[in-house]
Symmetry: C2
Subunit: 157 residues, 2 copies
DNA sequence: AAAAATACGTCAGTTATGTTGACTTATATT
DNA sequence: AATATAAGTCAACATAACTGACGTATTTTT
């Protein structure tokens, strides 16, 4: 059996980089009594206004029950609102409220700052290499879904 | 207030890439009844043979009680063994057993395969850019600690 | 029109992983 | 001898995930 030399450098850098990357939002979220689960839900609703519950489940890859708990809190506290689907009334389409948009922006600002500080220190063209690396690290079967998500609405307002 | 344009592309790529990156080991670990916490402990003990409990706590940034629970299982099931410190007998230095080394290797093989498959598809020199990016994403205060960890023992055997 | 499928929600119980706080034991340092 | 340190332990709790079963509204199929 051929043993590939382990890439401990990248394995460990990914671990530490991701930990600090998620820590900035976590600090703000904890002040509001929210966790990372709320962040993910708010983020993807913000980025995909009118997303259906079942599509959100598909993105997050969690169960309906898990989503239900955090979604209920976000709706109760007026960060997210639900509307019946115009064609199919069974659907509950999800939107961020003004309050929700603001929080989502604050959270993405924190992460954007860390990213921009980093990119600014690197050679021109690095960001394209990094995007490509992260893209190729995703399971092949999921890549087209991710591209569709990322290239979507720039959420201008 | 100046609004920086949010980097949704990198924010979301990081989310999906990290999810799939950790999913490979998770599948194997679940078969053994272990979770991600066990993985982290096993990994850092494997990479730092003879590490003290308190230093491991510093790396993982969890409490003694949390570590205690998973560490006890790994010791009981013969993946990790403890030895008294030769100079200070209060210390319990941690080592992987043969069984533990094997599992740690299998887990890092899975992650290494994903990394190498990715790097192979990219232009020469990309890995240095990626390393730099991940390094600079880490909190400045922690970078020297991380470098010390990463450049350590290549765990040859 | 009736039956089946779908979208969503909910109740109840479980697991994994983290937390605080208080205390113990062994050993080293002052 | 007194104090500090390294590690472990007991108890209680929080969060975020899980499974399984079931209910309700609505749409689609037969």
């Amino acid at each position: 059996m051929q043993e590939t030399e382990p890439r401990f450098d990248l394995i460990e850098l990914l671990f530490f980089a991701y930990r600090d990357f998620t820590d900035d939002p976590d600090v703000l979220l904890n002040k509001l009594g929210y966790g990372r689960a709320h962040h993910r839900v708010l983020h993807f609703v913000h980025r995909n206004p009118g997303i259906r519950v079942s599509d959100l489940l598909g993105i997050l890859k969690i169960t309906k029950q898990s989503l239900g708990r955090v979604l209920k809190q976000l709706v109760d506290e007026d960060y997210i609102e639900q509307q019946h689907g115009p064609l199919d009334r069974r659907e509950r389409l999800l939107f961020t409220t003004a309050k929700g948009k603001l929080l989502a922006q604050e959270l993405s600002q924190l992460q954007t700052k860390r990213i921009n500080k980093t990119i600014d220190l690197m050679p021109t063209g690095s960001d394209e290499i990094i995007r490509q690396f992260l893209y190729l690290m995703i399971d092949e079967k999921d890549r087209s879904d991710v591209v569709r998500l990322i290239t979507k609405s720039t959420t201008k307002e």
